[in-house]
Amino acid sequence: MKIKLIRTGGFLPITREAETEVNLSDTQVKQLLEVIQPDRISSPVKDGHYYLLEIGTSSTSIDLEKVPAEYKALFSKLKNDLRIIK
């Protein structure tokens, strides 16, 4: 399946995206999304970046700091590949 990492926000609010093909089962995806769910925040970080993971037609807010060890390389690659979307 195709997954897309989307980064929004920042001092200059621009969107960057990167996508890749992964071989994950629905259960694995569900578990991953549960683990990388961001904490509820009372107020957004001023000028902060935000990450979303798009799988199929749905996108979910994620916290990259929570990515489990087995997925680190995947997300690191996606992060390095982020390209500006006009």
């Binding site: 200059l12 107020s43 970080v45 000028d47 807010s61 700091e65 500006i84 006009k86």
Partner: protein, 345 residues
């Protein structure tokens, strides 16, 4: 006219007229009082911040070594030890942090971000090629930029002043980070950021180009934002397209209050109050921080400045404070009104 309305049979009209009459009495009396008030009286009333805590700048600079673990960052420099450093980003934030601290202390008597001598913490080389700078509620964090579109976010003193001002705002009006209040939050950071740079470079309103982040965005024709002409900081940039900021209220952008909608366009619609400030400061002449900056700072620390304030609230408050500080029909009060009129607020 008002007296007639106060006696109206229509309860709504009468209520409104009584309230208006009451407010104008209050403002008239306030103005008379503040025109006569001594410096000491103004200090007691909080118009000039009290000196509290340790009255010397305290700062620590950390090196994240291109990682995202702030807790694991290494201390690079602090005011106590004044270490010799080679990191340009480190040197930049020390210079910018000092300029910002001096700006608030020397002009407004403010003792650091919280007015209680808060230790300023700055983190450089955050993440690999991160094209951003942010205030996380406790500290300022800067990335090195991707090297193709952006350089280090420490390269412009106005960006450093912008981030530090987010801390000041959080300790004062604590404006919500969404919609118009969020755009005002961003605007106060841009306004004080540009004034910190202008003061550091000894530039008056005519000499300044009013650009934020002109070194951060690579290319001689580009900057991150323009207070003088919002929407022109970058035009037809090969990667970014064109600056989306409006300068006037009729071009206000209604964006979704989500992370991808920039929380209702806080970095977009900030162009409107930014432009109002630019026009006001330009029409006052001289150095922006002398008069316009004093008015905007008085608003920022005004206890009636609410978290969910909108552009009209700030327009009214800046007029009230301009008249309090410089008098009704003063050049400064007129310039403030002209600023908001030009921005069509």
């Amino acid at each position: 006219m008002l007296a007639k309305l106060m006696e109206s049979d229509n309860k709504k009209v009468a209520d409104m007229a009584v309230n208006t009459n009451f407010r104008s009495y209050r403002f008239r009396n306030d103005r008379i009082f503040f025109q006569k008030a001594s410096l000491r009286d103004k200090k007691i009333l909080g118009l000039i911040a009290k000196q509290t805590g340790i009255d010397v700048m305290q700062m620590e600079v950390y090196d994240c070594k291109q990682k995202t673990d702030l807790a694991g960052a290494a201390l690079l420099w602090d005011t106590k030890n004044n270490q010799k450093i080679t990191s340009l980003a480190g040197k930049n934030v020390i210079k910018g942090g000092k300029a910002s601290w001096d700006f608030y202390r020397q002009l407004f008597g403010r003792n650091s971000i919280d007015n209680k001598g808060l230790l300023i913490k700055q983190y450089v080389h955050y993440d690999k090629g991160m094209d951003n700078a942010y205030w996380d509620g406790r500290r300022m964090v800067y990335g090195d930029g991707d090297g193709t579109v952006f350089t280090s976010f420490t390269n412009d003193i106005d960006v450093i002043g912008h981030e530090l001002t987010h801390g000041v705002t959080e300790n004062e009006a604590n404006l919500n980070y969404e919609n118009q209040a969020g755009a005002l939050n961003e605007s106060f950071s841009d306004i004080f950021g540009i004034m910190i740079k202008q003061r550091f470079n000894n530039q008056d309103v005519k000499k300044s180009n009013w650009l934020i982040g002109e070194k951060v965005l690579i290319g001689p024709k580009y900057a991150l934002r323009s207070l003088k002409a919002p929407g022109t900081a970058y035009i037809n940039h090969p990667e970014l397209g064109s600056d989306p900021q409006p300068a006037t209220m009729d071009k206000y952008q209604n964006l979704p209050n989500t992370n991808s909608g920039d929380w209702g366009g806080v970095h977009i619609n900030s162009g409107i109050p930014n432009f109002a400030f630019y026009v006001a400061a330009y029409n006052m002449g001289g150095f922006a921080w002398d008069k316009a900056g004093r008015i905007w700072y008085a608003v920022l620390i005004d206890k009636s400045f609410l978290q969910n304030a909108n552009f009209v609230d700030v327009k009214n408050l800046t007029i009230v404070h301009a008249e309090k500080l410089y008098g009704i029909n003063s050049r400064e009060a007129i310039a403030v009104k002209q600023g908001w009129a030009e921005a069509k607020v």
